[in-house]
């Protein structure tokens, strides 16, 4: 997707803009809105009893998902987490099929078998959300290895949280990826908490990226609420990976504005803290930046937002009207 921009001055302000056309930028904004509306609609559907189970919303984290995936080609891969709606939409998934999955319908990406925590869009290169914290990290090593063995040139972006960085899987995966110089970008979405556990109590170093040194790989820290900053770092890491120079650990500092999941009573953080981060809303910020750079008029942004809302409404409708899976097919697809 990246292509050279014609506008000299703005890329001086933000180097990322050298790589992103106005069209690209609008698409990023559109995706962020799609994610936000998707999750707000998911919340509303839950309240209305249309969705069961639990859900993990990434509201407030849209920039890291979209920014990290934007440098990717369609054939590149991502591996996602329990908080994965954003990654999925960023990689180009169809919200209709995502909502259908969320509603447990046969038309969903996983035919209603997976639900929110397991949405996968394999054809689109999203190898799945994961219910296991850190579960995608070792899988990414295999995806990277396979890409290298098949000489496909494809890169794998694997998302994980700050909490996941304390799992053994993190350590083994980063080490393997590094010694084999695999085309992987490890994207840590550090949203300050693993459920109720603040990062500072879960580890004795200030940044997850500080751990990159233990694997001899670059560790990069960016403001995860700044889409262009995330994009720029991810672009560099992706290019590096594609050149065969190995993996990068990219840490996006961000924040989840909602609770961890439906059971969260927010006892471990203050309203003020949440408010403080709400003021750094990545969508508002990006939108304002685009406006001030002259890439987008307020009207155009409003139109993007409204269109995203319509698409999500249609997706919910599609999901509601889709058929339930047939219980007679329960044991289908246990085996190939």
């Amino acid at each position: 997707m990246p292509k050279n921009s014609a506008s000299e001055p703005r890329q001086n302000q933000r180097p990322a803009l050298a790589l992103l056309s106005d069209e690209d930028l609008r698409l990023c904004l559109r995706k962020m809105y799609l994610i936000r509306k998707f999750e707000e609609a998911a919340e509303a559907s839950y309240v209305r009893g249309l969705i069961h189970g639990t859900m993990h919303l990434s509201i407030g984290q849209e920039a890291s998902g979209v920014g990290a995936v934007t440098p990717l080609r369609p054939t590149d891969y991502i591996l996602s987490t329990h908080r994965g709606h954003g990654h999925c939409i960023a990689k180009g998934a169809d919200p209709k099929l995502m909502f259908a999955e969320f509603f447990g319908k046969d038309t969903g990406y996983c035919r209603g078998r997976g639900g929110s925590m397991h949405i996968a869009d394999v054809a689109g290169g999203n190898l799945g959300a994961n219910g296991i914290v850190g579960g995608g990290l070792p899988i990414a090593v295999g995806v990277g290895l396979s890409s290298k063995m098949r000489r496909s040139g494809d890169v794998c972006v694997v998302f994980f949280g700050d909490g996941a960085a304390n799992e053994g899987a993190f350590h083994e995966a980063l080490n393997l990826a590094s010694i084999w110089r695999l085309p992987i970008v490890f994207v840590c979405e550090n949203n300050q908490y693993g459920m109720s556990m603040p990062v500072a109590r879960a580890m004795a170093v200030p940044n997850v990226a500080d751990r990159a040194a233990a694997y001899g790989m670059p560790g990069v820290i960016v403001d995860g609420n700044d889409l262009l900053a995330v994009f720029e770092a991810a672009h560099e890491a992706t290019e590096r990976a594609r050149r065969g120079e190995g993996p990068t650990l990219l840490e996006c500092k961000t924040y989840r504005l909602r609770g961890h999941s439906k059971s969260d009573r927010n006892l471990y953080r203050t309203k003020e803290e949440i408010e403080e981060w709400r003021r750094r809303d990545p969508i508002v910020r990006f939108r304002e930046e685009l406006t001030s750079l002259g890439c987008l008029t307020p009207d155009a942004s409003n139109a993007i937002e409204a269109e995203a809302a319509r698409e999500i409404d249609a997706a919910v409708e599609f999901a509601r009207n889709s058929p339930q899976p047939d219980p007679a097919q329960l044991e289908q697809n246990v085996y190939a």
Binding site: H52, K105, G115, H118, A164, E167, A169, M197, S263, R265
Partner: protein, 334 residues
């Protein structure tokens, strides 16, 4: 009016677990809790609740997300004189800790020729029914019932949740304590004072003259509901709550089969090699064999990962109607 200690109140299964934890911690300063988000958050299912505020961060220890590490932490603390009670948020996550639980905790005493003990408890919720899908809904207890050196219990009632947990904490061996998500909010009579339900003992929940059903965890509730339905048809089913999967209370099972000549085992775990396989084999090799006048039936989980969709999810594990239907057939002919 009974005083606070002898009072029997209706409390939930989750409250019963919490009460056992709290009484064990009050009685023995070696007891402490370890787990993810068990502190201020009060546990993913709210089970530890206010214990963090009552006992402080030194005895209710919030851990990073490191299942293998915290399982090893429990092992190390146990062999040096403490009595750790570990919580996994979902029993599915124990897969990350199998090494410490099965290679270390279960074997240390034996490997060291009896020179160490590993008194630790691992609490965790299993089971489906909350729409949590394949990685958060499994019933894995049968794996551990296959492992010498471990004890395994599955309380089905608030009363047993408290009594078995206090017994598990007392026990000098590693005990795996499988709670059930759907049971957390169910209520039952629970004495306020501490008491123990012995590990290794099954209990007859309903006396009857027809085919006994051996059930575990939430399947006890569903089986009792099925038995009530069948009572109206004049079928009087005996219901045994297995409670303890390792060791298994063989005499209670054998006796019941000898009385009725039939057997159904109902459990949520995958049917193949689930606990029903063992119960069936125990009966088929026992003196009760000669009393059998119909095939031994198992009704376990279907041969599939747990699906997200609620209709499929229900279809994947035994429901009351399934139990009723199979029992009716079993009593009728075989």
């Amino acid at each position: 009016m009974p005083d606070a200690q002898t009072a029997e109140r209706e409390i939930t299964y989750a409250e019963a677990v919490r009460e056992a934890l709290s009484q064990a911690m009050e009685a023995d300063e070696r007891v402490f809790l370890l787990g993810e988000d068990i502190g201020v958050y009060g546990g993913a299912f709210g089970v530890t609740g206010d214990l963090y505020h009552r006992f402080g961060p030194e005895r209710v220890i919030d851990t990073p997300i490191s299942e293998l590490g915290i399982a090893g932490t429990a092992v190390g603390a146990a062999i040096t004189g403490m009595r750790p009670v570990l919580e996994f948020q979902f029993s599915d996550f124990i897969m990350l800790a199998m090494e410490q639980i099965v290679n270390q905790a279960a074997k240390i005493r034996f490997m060291f020729g009896g020179k160490a003990t590993v008194p630790m408890v691992v609490r965790m919720p299993g089971g489906s029914g909350t729409g949590a899908a394949a990685q958060h809904s499994q019933s894995l207890e049968a794996w551990f019932a296959h492992v010498p050196g471990l004890k395994v219990v599955q309380p089905a009632t608030p009363y047993d949740a408290k009594g078995l947990l206090l017994a598990a904490i007392d026990d000098p061996n590693p005990v795996l304590f499988f709670e059930h998500k759907l049971l957390y909010k169910t209520k039952g009579i629970v004495p306020a004072a501490p008491y123990r339900v012995p590990l290794g003992s099954a209990v007859v929940r309903r006396l009857g003259s027809a085919a006994p059903v051996v059930a575990t965890s939430i399947m006890v509730t569903r089986t009792l509901a099925a038995a009530d339905a069948l009572a109206g048809e004049g079928i009087d089913v005996e219901v045994i709550d297995l409670r303890s999967l390792r060791p298994i209370d063989k005499p209670t099972l054998i006796e019941s089969v000898q009385k009725t000549g039939r057997l159904l085992v109902v459990y949520e775990g995958v049917q193949t090699l689930g606990i029903g396989a063992e119960i069936s084999a125990i009966i088929a090799e026992s003196e009760a064999f000669d009393f059998l006048d119909a095939p031994i039936r198992r009704l376990g989980g279907r041969d599939t990962p747990l699906p997200y969709n609620p209709i499929l999810e229900k279809a994947a594990v035994p429901q009351t109607d399934d139990i009723t239907a199979i029992l009716r057939a079993l009593v009728a002919g075989g």
